[in-house]
Symmetry: C2
Subunit: 498 residues, 2 copies
């Protein structure tokens, strides 16, 4: 049967993809510095092989025949969907020449290296020619999918199937004034929050131990995953039985490693929760990056920065760090929710975070649309920072060079962060609607109830449904700004006594 | 040019091989337990892809044309050798069907898992059906290279090009009586050695720190390599810039991690020392496993268990472990050289070690020759132990199940351990002939002198010469038992006052 052949090839692609994931994971965790160029070659080769293994004539023939084979099945049968998503992926892959894929991988590896040097002191000018090449390559990529309404649309598809630049703009345009207003209200008439209790000297091993307590309680399965350290935390879904997260520690702040651990833990629960029967198959991946981010932000923020969560876990944190013994729960809770415009996206609070994302989306649209030259990017970055957040970074390392994404040519990725934040609140609201005792359970330290609801309503489905459909099935609504704004107004209205 | 195409393909194979090395390294170091089956699939796929990428018609055509292109070059030109070794590898690879390669990789992964369970308590019976399949597969493999004098010959070629079962037997037959006699002399009339000073409670972190001191002094390049922990120490040459070793610690013994570190360090210096211009090329690998082992055993034993080495390093070891402060150097030196029949090969002393190897070679020859059934292997093991070493292991975990090799189907590998021991002494003798001050330099802690000699005479050549030629160039002689026996008689005659 062609469907059988097709599925076998998809499993092989999952195995090859696992090797690629591992090479990337290792690059960020354990690779000796002298092997960076070797690793770039390895990744370029495996990326090309992956493309060749998939975008072949024979896969096209199997798809054709498999479409006939599943015709008699009920429309919601898994195999119908397997053929559907694989065909869509294949049609997209066929548009992209193998030579482009290999060259792009090589450009990305070199650019990422230059970006690190630029950040470490060589400056934006050192990175600029690489970024110019990547922007040009991404325009070329978009043109493989012409015609399009926006040059951004073909890029979005790789991260968020079904999403368009038009819809992203509409959502951000609704969200932006609400956030800008809330930031202004907090600044002008909010009751100030003192976050001094978070700073001090916090032993890394103790931070790690507490993070593991929380991860285990969240239900992270260490039989099927592990946690390591890296400069920038990430989740690598090598395989269903091998979901790896990383974290980093800052001795000076008690909370940054913890929230990064919960964030990556949220991603990991999604990957570990995909139905076992989908493993190594076309449906055995997350539905979209936006939904992925909804899971990480739900755990990091909606749970991890809630009063209920800390009413249970704060005494344990105090036991780990006696310096916090004299800090009341409420003081700590307020500190981890302080709103303050800052330079670094990943350290931003829930209110300002999406403004960081909007700034990037604006600039990506302008770069790819040809309205902004790479040479003018640092200035444009700083202009937007002033406009959205009222501050300007002292240097590019804390500005335009802070994120890794562009150095790998990942344009169109940032919107998924914002969509994830919005969906996180929608999903939380739906979970509480289904199980009104959920907040109380969390306040008792019972995190499994939430994980189970997420498993049944989001995780297990993998790619069975389109992102929009999955969110509608789970919450009744498509992704939208309203619930997020309501969540922020309620939480921060109380915190800042607005 | 076809030679250019050929070299490009060889570099791709090096990159793919690097990914395979990393997957194996990770399997032994960091892989979550739930991902063992996933990893088996991944390794099977990449092994098949490697085989397909190499054993293709087009590579054959390039080889044909490249042979013409290098005809005008001097016979010792690198490119002449590139074509020669690649042709030999290709001819061998063509004999083996891709389906066999993939199936063998899968068998090996499953067998290795079963072997671990067998060792951990499930018993030999749990491993037996896997081993039966592997023996059958290896016989099938040998038959791809029929006709042969011994079924063992085609297997040996993969590890030790040019070596034959006949020659291995001749060398072992010369070595065996000399060892058996020396063991008997030591037992009956040797002055007893007390090794109690090596036992105690030795903090792992301190052991690790001292091991790193020695590794650095040996010249291990941490910019192009790293050390991790694994149950069984090994060296993984992922790439020239990425040579990874592992070690393990035993709190109860001060010396076992140290010697394993020096052993793997010796392997690593070989890999790190191959000429830079050979990187990712056909010559950019070690000449053979026997020569590889000569490097590990040279550092571990000829250097690491010498009086000179410890005359410099013992005060440092004492500084790390104050419990040794009252133990004289000579007592320590004698302790680390105590000869005593024991169950575990990797813990064996220099005198009995090769008897462990001979036992395995005997059994491999019998298994593959069909004279011994897998079911009878544990009994045959114990019989040989009694015959060669006069002791019988209390259980199979300390007997037939102790080594990983057979669980991966690596038959024909063990002889290289013995050949390596012999070559280590031949190489050491040649180095001292060239540089008579070498022992004194080592006693001053100057290990770089030896590393440089090895680099120039062994390491840098990679696969430029056949193993036999390389050893002759470095020492003037092929591999032989005489120098090793003389070395043992001299060293242990003095130690045991024979």
């Amino acid at each position: 049967m062609s469907l059988t052949k097709l599925k076998r090839r998809v499993s092989e692609l999952a195995d090859l993809g696992a090797a690629i994931h591992l090479l990337h994971w290792d690059l960020e965790t354990y690779l000796p510095p002298g092997a960076v160029a070797d690793r770039a070659s390895q990744l370029a080769l495996l990326g090309r092989m992956e493309h060749e293994l998939f975008a072949s004539e024979e896969v096209g023939e199997w798809l054709e025949a498999a479409a006939g084979e599943v015709r008699g099945l009920p429309p919601d049968a898994d195999d119908v969907r397997v053929v559907e998503v694989t065909r869509r992926d294949w049609v997209r892959a066929r548009r992209v020449p193998a030579a482009w894929v290999e060259e792009f991988a090589r450009l990305g590896s070199l650019a990422q290296h230059a970006w690190r040097e630029a950040r470490a002191g060589a400056g934006f000018g050192h990175f600029r020619p690489h970024l110019e090449r990547l922007v040009a390559a991404r325009r070329e990529y978009a043109d493989f999918f012409a015609p399009y309404e926006s040059v951004y649309d073909p890029l979005l598809q790789d991260y968020e199937p079904g999403m368009t630049a038009r819809r992203v703009r509409a959502i951000l345009d609704e969200l932006r004034p609400a956030l800008v207003n809330l930031v202004a209200e907090i600044r002008t008439r909010g009751r100030p929050i003192d976050a001094a209790c978070l700073a001090g000297d916090f032993d890394e091993a103790v931070q790690e131990a507490f993070g593991l307590v929380v991860l285990r309680r969240m239900g992270f399965d260490f039989e099927r995953g592990r946690q390591d350290r890296s400069a920038h935390p990430f989740t690598s879904p090598v395989a269903r039985g091998d979901v790896r997260i990383t974290t980093r520690f800052d001795r000076r702040f008690v909370s940054s490693a913890l929230f990064s651990t919960m964030h990556e833990g949220g991603h990991a629960l999604y990957e570990q929760g995909i139905a076992e029967e989908y493993a190594r198959g076309a449906l055995g991946r997350a539905a979209s990056l936006g939904l992925h981010e909804s899971q990480s932000r739900l755990w990091e923020n909606v749970v991890g920065r809630s009063r209920g969560f800390w009413s249970h876990f704060y005494p344990q944190l105090q036991a780990h760090f006696p310096a916090l013994a004299s800090v009341p729960l409420e003081t700590f809770y307020r500190a981890i929710n302080r709103v303050e415009p800052s330079f670094i996206r990943v350290d931003a609070d829930e209110v300002t975070y999406n403004l960081h994302v909007m700034l990037r989306v604006d600039l990506e649209l302008a770069l790819l649309g040809g309205e902004l030259a790479v040479a003018d990017l640092p200035a444009a970055w700083n202009d937007r920072m002033r406009e959205y957040l009222g501050i300007v970074p002292p240097d590019d390392a804390q500005g335009v060079l802070q994120d890794i994404h562009w150095s790998g040519g990942s344009f169109g990725y940032f919107p998924t962060y914002c969509l994830g934040n919005l969906a996180a609140v929608q999903i939380w609201d739906a979970a509480v609607r289904d199980d009104p005792d959920l907040p109380a359970a969390i306040a008792r330290g019972e995190l499994g109830r939430l994980r189970e609801w997420l498993g049944a309503n989001v995780h297990r489905h993998g790619r069975k449904y389109e992102p929009d459909d999955l969110l509608r099935r789970a919450t009744g609504r498509p992704v939208e700004a309203g619930p997020y704004v309501a969540y922020l107004r309620s939480k921060y209205g109380e915190l800042y006594a607005l």
